[in-house]
């Protein structure tokens, strides 16, 4: 009961602290927005185009590529310049539109559109495939125009215009991509990438910085005063732990809701997501208690705390996927609770994971929380005595 009294006063004080609220709510959401918007570019390919005099058909192909959402088209004057750009990785692939492309097509000749890409380079291959699909699309129209000219009526040019008009009206076969039995080691792109990683980063970081409150309360002599009332030291510690857990939980839930409702993030299995949010709030709450019991001054907690939070977030895969770092760094990363949390989110968001599949991660996170809390409790018992 007294622990709840301590909890309610703790929450009331945080609600009055505008700076704390800014760091707790506004900053994480702003960072999710920024990172979510910038990390969209993973599947956009830069394509170099060399127009050697392809005529209207060439222009049509270029504008089709420009309209394609996954292609970023840049023009190059010569094939050599484009090849150099590919070699320098400035562009993923290059397309050469040959001279006389338009007249050859008109005459029904086969036109070869060269696409440069190294067979061994998977990114370049993927880019080439994207280009090919646009070429195929335009090619379909060309063929339709030729077909009608030969078998029906009208000039090639008239029929091409007609085919272009008709194409969107024809029943389309909608192709949707879905991850089936995926083994992706990274989170999806966009907000689905930034929201879970920033949730992991900010809940922990905010808790470490929030350790300052415990130090301030100690300095104010409030713990001493509380200790003269008929309550146990363990009740005081329980009340504080509850406060830190609730703050971390509220922050995590707010991030989940904002990301889901505003940024359209799908958090996967609801049961698993709830369990993971609770486990992470426990880790965060316990880390806050640890910060409050280990640092000596509020300034230390609010300046060194975030630095530690960011370092652990880097190691733990909140800033970039651990799948791109060396095995050694991946192993070191898994000494942080962040890595286990990001792993669990990756399972939920990218592989359709369930509460059963993330049980190992949940167990590790709870172990971290219990460990942090045990150290914090023994430290605080000594400090409150």
């Amino acid at each position: 009961m007294s622990a709840l009294t301590i909890l309610s006063v703790g929450l009331r004080r945080i609600m009055r602290d505008r700076t704390a609220l800014f760091f707790m709510i506004v900053l994480p959401i702003a960072v999710i927005l920024i990172i979510g918007a910038t990390v969209r570019g993973f599947s956009t390919f830069r394509v170099g185009v060399v127009n050697e005099g392809a005529g209207p058909s060439g222009t049509q192909l270029v504008s089709a590529m420009q309209r394609a959402p996954d292609l970023d088209v840049r023009m190059y004057p010569t094939a050599t310049a484009a090849a150099t750009a590919v070699a320098r990785s400035e562009i993923s692939t290059a397309v050469i539109l040959p001279a006389n492309m338009d007249s050859d097509l008109r005459d029904g000749k086969t036109v070869a559109v060269a696409v440069m890409a190294e067979p061994a380079n998977s990114t370049q291959q993927a880019a080439a495939q994207e280009v090919e699909s646009v070429v195929t699309d335009v090619g379909g129209r060309v063929q339709a125009a030729l077909f009608t000219r030969i078998h029906v009526t009208g000039s090639y040019q008239q029929n091409l215009v007609r085919a272009t008009e008709i194409q969107p009206k024809v029943a389309q076969v909608d192709v949707q991509q879905a991850r089936v039995d995926s083994h992706s080691n990274t989170l999806p792109e966009g907000f689905s990438y930034s929201a879970p990683t920033m949730l992991v980063l900010f809940v922990f970081l905010n808790a470490l910085a929030g350790g300052a409150t415990i130090i301030e309360t100690r300095r104010l002599g409030m713990y001493e005063r509380m200790a003269t009332t008929p309550i146990h030291t363990r009740t005081i510690i329980a009340g504080e732990a509850l406060t830190y857990f609730c703050v971390a939980l509220v922050q995590a839930v707010l991030i989940v809701l904002v990301a889901a409702l505003i940024f359209g993030v799908s958090w996967g299995s609801p049961l698993a997501a709830i369990a993971l949010v609770l486990a992470w709030a426990m880790v965060g709450g316990a880390a806050g208690m640890l910060s409050g019991s280990l640092f000596r001054t509020p300034e230390q907690a609010s300046s060194i705390g975030p630095a530690i939070g960011i370092a652990l977030a880097m190691l733990g895969g909140c800033m970039w996927p651990l799948s791109i770092v060396s095995q050694t760094m991946r192993d070191i990363g898994h000494a942080t609770p962040q890595a286990w949390a990001v792993d669990a989110w990756t399972d939920l968001l990218s592989r359709g994971g369930t509460i059963v599949s993330i049980l190992p991660q949940l167990a590790v996170l709870v172990t971290f929380a219990v460990g942090f809390l045990a150290i914090a409790t023994s430290r605080m018992r000594r400090l409150l005595r």
């Binding site: 007294s2 009294t5 006063v9 009331r12 004080r13 009055r16 602290d17 104010l220 002599g221 409030m222 001493e224 005063r225 509380m226 200790a227 003269t228 009332t229 008929p230 309550i231 146990h232």
Partner: protein, 320 residues
């Protein structure tokens, strides 16, 4: 001011027996024993670092004595957690949440004392009235003046109607007007039947407020009694305060050699003396000061008081 009936002594509210507390290899409280009757105001008087705060922290259950025992209304505070409700502790430094209002602070502490609902509201109202803070009850504590914070600090110790109010230097850093108000309140608590354990290093406060005074120095309780009893130690002796500039230690040394001077000590730009007949030795004292080349700013002969008692018992003046 001793209004202590003999019966109260035989049934004290607080009884401390042979308290000892060590911090590392330094003894902070060394075999201190004292008792408080119901409704009595007891002052622990001594310089900073004498062991006053350590003693009262043991009384409040914040520190455990290394040896000795504390009985409060016949209960041991060590084993009986509920016995803490008998004590209202007012720490030396204001211990309140600055970002909460007076009402919120009192409500929080009241709940920890298991008060709730209408009773809690009533007690908050009463404590605020007692400390003249009713009008500012909805203001945040960080908007209060120093004196108001001190008063609220005391109010927080009164909420649960303790039988013993423990005040640790409640007037340090307080302006004279607030100080007067605080001392008046303390007196009224005593009259209201609440026992008060009061620490101070201001002699005049102890003289004004306390029924009995325990003089503590270097962790030991060196004398105890009413003001009258303590002053009687000195017999007919007087106190001479000589304010001067120059080598005051030499002045004190010269004065000790004068016949009739019992003690001499230096504190706060003054030489404090105890003499058998103050007026009689005064010329010799002035002459001694002249000999050392010190220039005398003022000299005062007073009847013996607690300051003189302290000087007499410890050989030192009370240090600020």
């Amino acid at each position: 001011m001793a209004h202590e009936p003999a019966a109260a002594r035989s049934d004290p509210l607080l009884r401390c027996n042979s308290l000892v507390k060590w911090f590392g290899d330094r003894v902070a409280v060394d075999d201190v024993s004292f008792g408080l009757a119901r409704g009595e105001i007891y002052g622990l008087l001594g310089p900073n670092g004498a062991g006053k705060t350590t003693t009262i922290k043991m009384v409040c259950g914040l520190l455990q004595p290394d040896s000795g025992s504390i009985m409060l209304d016949g209960r041991s505070t060590k084993e009986d957690l509920a016995a803490r409700s008998l004590v209202g502790y007012v720490p030396q430094d204001v211990a309140l949440y600055p970002d909460l209002t007076a009402s919120e602070n009192l409500s929080f502490l009241g709940r920890l004392y298991r008060l709730s609902g209408g009773l809690l509201e009533e007690r908050i109202k009463e404590a605020l009235e007692l400390t003249d803070l009713t009008e500012r009850r909805h203001d945040r504590v960080d908007s209060y003046s120093g004196g108001m914070k001190r008063r609220l600090n005391i109010a927080a110790g009164l909420l649960h109607h303790p039988k013993l109010l423990v005040l640790d230097e409640p007037t340090v850093g307080v302006d004279p007007q607030s100080r007067h108000a605080i001392l008046e309140r303390v007196r009224s608590f005593g009259i209201g039947g609440v026992s008060v354990l009061y620490t101070t290093h201001y002699m005049e406060e102890a003289e004004r407020v306390c029924d009995r005074v325990g003089i503590i120095d270097h962790g030991r309780l060196i004398a105890e009694g009413t003001r009258r009893e303590l002053v009687a130690h000195l017999g007919e002796r007087d106190r001479i305060d000589l304010a001067a500039t120059g080598d005051l230690q030499r002045v004190a040394a010269e004065c000790r050699a004068i016949q009739g001077v019992v003690e001499a000590a230096v504190a706060d730009d003054s030489v404090h003396l105890i003499a058998d007949d103050g007026r009689h030795v005064l010329p010799a004292v002035l002459e001694a000061a002249n000999r050392t080349g010190a220039s005398v700013n003022s000299v005062e002969v007073k009847e013996a008081d607690l300051e003189a008692v302290f000087l007499h018992l410890t050989g030192t003046a009370l240090r600020e």
